[in-house]
């Protein structure tokens, strides 16, 4: 237990205290206690921002599941050249600067960028498509950043599925398709949920990618917080918005912890 002293102190002083200060600040501004800041948050501007952020996070999560599941299946069950390259690519991507990736997507997606040049050259389109500085760009950028987290969480969970169960399903007369949908997929659901929770909560707080690739057309709630601090200089409002977001993300995490155990996130837990 002596081991706990240093890390717990650091966590409390540098993590719990700042968040507690935010909570305090959200109620006690310059003129004493008020819930004015929270009242402000019910204005349509903020409600729409929050709804947009939730929708964005949800869609990105869904896309990540759909795109990531087959890849995770491949990595978990079919070792070989493609699996090795895929693992390498995913790892490098995880460590690859988010800023640089965003920058790179601009180069690829902009009006006279790589993709548009190729599309026009191939004759698929006549005029360049608007792929960046709008919501499409945000989706592409966010999926690219969050996909590795989804796959890395899924793979160990898929690996943990006992092949014996599949063999027995096949021997009992279920064809491969049925075996997948009735045995493999249900068994993999905890992994899907774990990955989704991770991706969803991360997507909720995403800043860099929507701020740059959105070109002002994909404002999320965290961008509003930044404006509240730096433009409006309304710390109380910023604190209230932060607390709301904090409650949402911690809430999701607690529900998940109750239901399944947070160990599963990142696939690092016992299997």
């Amino acid at each position: 237990m002596i081991l706990f002293i240093a890390p717990l102190t650091v966590m409390v002083v540098l993590f719990v205290v700042p968040l507690a200060v935010l909570l305090w600040l959200s109620f006690f501004g310059d003129d004493g206690f008020s819930i004015q800041a929270y009242a402000e948050l019910t204005r349509p501007v903020y409600v729409n921002l929050m709804l947009f952020t939730l929708r964005l996070a949800f869609s990105v999560t869904l896309i990540c599941v759909v795109i990531g599941y087959p890849i995770a299946y491949l990595l978990a069950n079919m070792p070989g050249t493609s699996a090795r390259w895929m693992t390498l690519a995913l790892l490098v991507t995880l460590w690859f600067s988010v800023l640089a990736r965003t920058y790179s997507w601009i180069i690829i997606l902009q009006r006279n960028g790589l993709l548009n040049t190729m599309l026009i050259w191939s004759g698929l389109t006549d005029a360049p498509l608007g792929l960046v500085y709008n919501q499409i760009g945000v989706y592409i950028g966010m999926v690219h950043i969050l996909l590795p987290f989804m796959v890395m969480t899924l793979v160990p969970m898929l690996r943990a599925i006992d092949p014996q169960l599949l063999r027995s399903a096949l021997s009992l007369g279920a064809n491969p398709r049925k075996t997948f949908w009735r045995v493999y997929f249900p068994l993999s659901l905890p992994g899907v949920v774990a990955g989704s929770i991770l991706v969803f909560t991360m997507a909720l707080g995403f800043f860099i990618t929507p701020a740059i690739l959105g070109g002002g057309r994909a404002s999320t709630i965290v961008m509003a917080i930044k404006d509240q601090v730096q433009v409006l200089v309304d710390l109380q409002l910023a604190a209230a918005t932060s607390v709301m977001l904090l409650v949402v993300s911690i809430g999701i995490l607690l529900v998940y912890e109750k239901a399944a155990g947070v160990d599963r996130i990142f696939g690092t837990g016992r299997q």
Binding site: M1, L3, F4, A6, P7, L8, L14, F15, V17, P18, V21, L22, L25, P70, N77, M78, S82, W85, M86, A89, L91, V92, T93, W95, F96, S97, V98, L99, A100, R101, Y103, S104, I106, I107, I108, G113, H144, P176, F180, Y184, M202, G205, I212, V222, I225, K226, V229, L235, A238, S242, L245, L246, S249, I250, L254, E257, V262, D263, T268, G269
Partner: protein
């Protein structure tokens, strides 16, 4: 494998899909690297001519150079601090009761989940009031908290997959808790800590949201500069050079780690398959018939020469070397459940005592009490004449052989066996001699430089045995050490263990649920059930004179008859009367071993008992008969001889036995 779920077409489709996705994943990196080598300031692909302009700029331009150095410093500071704190936290978490532990763990993971913007505003408010904005320390500490989850998660995951028994093994071999962590836990955690460090470093090196809040005007980190370049400066191409360097470093690290991980694995596979091929070609390689006893004859001299308690030649051959162990009303409870219930037992020096009992009978708890991993609730535990109840395991000098051997996977055979000597500060030359001696004792001389993963089960067993005796322990405890071996190997190892124990004069307490093993090995057997000692006796007395029905049935097979004894007659509830071997009174149980049951005309004075054969089973040297009689269901065994025909199923027989050979006990 689950590949069955995909046909060839499906598999090909999946592969194509994965290559397509691979392009999507690597596209941003793939596009930046060539651009970083091109001189144009507009983006042309592929680049026209090779140029190092942007790399040069990174070095020459003081703004970029200083920012890069600052980011490097912050990232190193934060990730080093994070691995120190994170490893501590993960180890502490692994020792915490899981009910609170999960919430504390949640706290340590939450910096990854809570949006950076929220944490950033929090830091901003606090540090602004403390006038600490723009300082290196505040940014470094803030980043430490942010990257802590990247260390805590992989390290705790590794800890849960590690066998807790390794730490126990280290303690039983004499390593203090601190030493056990430094020598066993940390080396095994090293890969996880390294992973955590790399993730932490890259995250901190790239972090811009919190940095923007904390850095004020003075502290310009690389990500801040990049952010400015992208949002304001109109795509500064120096970014491509920075990023290319980053990608190169990341790829280099991954390739290094992969090479480092694969090399020993490959080696192990090759050597492992070669040695198992050996075994197949020469099934007797585990077995060295006849050699054991002679080898052991020469070994103890060497052993004693090195023993710390006795100087060279102090102890003569045949003299005992181990110390006695006694329990005095030893009790251990787990909540309502009493695992060990007031056990009194005295193990003589040099004696081989086996604790025998079904699972849950408390035998392993008893062993762990002696080893010191479990503290008794009451009672005394003496080693020699010293009460060791309050002495920690690593100072008890008791060798323990664990069920799954608990060999340290990160050390080779020699370092494993030398471990107890190393932690006791023995001189290297002495360690070498004693390790060689111990390995010779178990016929593993040639395996000193092997990795543990390259050994077969039987070989691992021998190494574990060598490790537990190399430091001259005062007693040796074994927890079902042979359970994982196949039958033939088990019989061999039984012989070796017995020989080793005799030649070293060791006191051994051995736990098993296999009565044959108990018979083969022990001077005395202690039968346990429900945390209570049922009987402690030599195997012979245990078989011939069981104290109660449980012992009679658990140790060998028995036909038991319950009834009321009066003089030499037992009256059964159904009215039948059976002769007793000696006078007895009150409720009693008569035990008739199956081999005593005879078919055919009864001995004189034996009541007429008719029966029918309902089943016969051939079991090698004996024939087992299941009989239905007036006394109830009976089992009889007969030696198989070539002349006697075995009775047919369904045939009527008369049974009897020689009353003097049966045994009567209290009910």
């Amino acid at each position: 494998m689950s590949e069955f779920l995909l046909g060839p077409v499906g598999r090909r489709l999946l592969h194509s899909y994965s290559w397509l996705l691979l392009i999507f994943i690597v596209a941003p990196a793939a596009i930046l690297i060539p651009i970083s080598f091109s001189s144009q300031s507009s983006f042309v692909f592929p680049p026209q001519e090779l140029s190092f302009e942007w790399y040069q700029r990174l070095i020459d331009d003081p703004r970029w150079r200083d920012a890069a150095l600052l980011s490097l410093k912050v990232a190193v500071f934060a990730s080093v601090l994070a691995i120190i704190l994170g490893t501590q936290a993960a180890i502490a978490l692994s020792r915490m009761p899981s009910r609170y532990g999960r919430y504390v763990k949640l706290l340590f993971i939450s910096p990854m989940i809570v949006p950076l913007m929220v944490i950033g505003v929090g830091f901003y408010v606090v540090f602004a009031r403390l006038h600490m904005l723009g300082g290196f320390l505040s940014l470094g500490l803030a980043h430490t908290v942010l990257v802590l989850p990247f260390v805590v998660m992989p390290v705790s995951a590794r800890l849960t997959s590690l066998d807790a028994i390794l730490e126990r093994a280290a303690a039983s071999l004499g390593a203090s808790p601190f030493r056990a962590i430094v020598r066993v836990v940390l080396p095994l955690l090293a890969p996880a800590i390294l992973t955590g460090f790399v993730f932490a470093f890259f995250f901190s090196f790239d972090e811009v949201v919190v940095a923007q809040f904390l850095s004020g005007a003075t502290l310009e980190t690389l990500p801040r500069l990049m952010w400015e370049g992208i949002t304001v400066g109109g795509l500064d191409k120096t970014i491509t050079a920075v990023t290319s360097v980053q990608i190169a470093v990341a790829v280099a690290i991954i390739l290094m780690v992969q090479a480092w991980q694969r090399r020993p694995v490959r080696l192990a596979n090759v050597v492992g398959s070669a040695s198992s091929a050996d075994e197949r070609a020469n099934p007797g390689s585990e077995k060295r018939p006849g050699s054991e006893k002679r080898d052991f004859g020469s070994a103890p001299g060497a052993g004693r020469k090195f023993d710390r308690s006795g100087g060279p030649g102090k102890v003569d051959d045949g003299e005992t070397h181990g110390v006695g162990i006694s329990f005095d009303r030893l009790t251990k409870r787990y909540g309502q459940h009493i695992a060990v219930d007031e056990i009194n037992l005295k193990v003589e020096p040099g004696e081989f005592v086996t604790l025998l009992g079904p699972s849950g009978s408390g035998k392993t708890t008893l062993l762990m009490l002696i080893a010191g991993f479990v503290t008794p609730d009451s009672g005394r535990l003496l080693l020699g004449d010293r009460d060791i109840s309050s002495i920690p395991p690593y100072r008890r000098d008791i060798g323990v052989v664990f069920q799954n051997y608990a060999l340290f996977p990160h050390l080779d055979v020699r370092r494993n066996v030398g471990f107890p000597l190393e932690v006791r500060g023995t001189a290297p030359s002495e360690i070498k001699r004693r390790v060689d001696w111990a390995l010779a004792l178990v016929h593993m001389e040639g395996f000193a430089d092997r990795r543990i993963s390259q050994l077969s089960g039987g070989q691992q067993q021998r190494v574990a045995l060598a490790r537990s005796v190399v430091f001259g322990p005062r007693a040796l405890l074994m927890d079902e050490p042979l359970a994982a071996l196949d039958r033939n190997l088990r019989l061999d190892m039984q012989g070796e263990i017995r020989g080793l124990q005799r030649s070293l004069g060791q006191t051994v307490v051995y736990v098993t649920h296999d009565q044959e093993e108990a018979l083969n090995l022990s001077d005395r057997v202690a039968v346990l059930q429900g945390g209570r000692l049922q009987q402690v006796d030599s195997p012979r007395d245990l078989y011939l004179k069981p104290r109660n029905a449980f012992v009679a049935r658990f140790f060998g097979e028995a036909n038991l008859f319950r009834g009321n004894a009066h003089g030499q007659i037992l009256t059964l509830p159904g009215g039948g009367r059976l002769p007793l071997p000696r006078a007895h009174s009150g409720p009693a149980v008569l035990c008739v071993r199956p081999e005593l049951v005879q078919l055919g005309p009864p001995a004189e004075g034996f009541p007429v008992v008719e029966g029918q054969v309902v089943d016969t089973r051939f079991q090698g040297s004996i024939l087992r008969l299941q009989l239905e009689t007036a006394l109830g269901s009976l089992t009889a065994t007969r030696q198989i001889t070539s002349t006697a025909a075995s009775p047919e199923v369904g045939s009527k027989v008369r049974i009897s036995w020689t009353s003097q050979l049966t045994h009567v006990m209290d009910d």
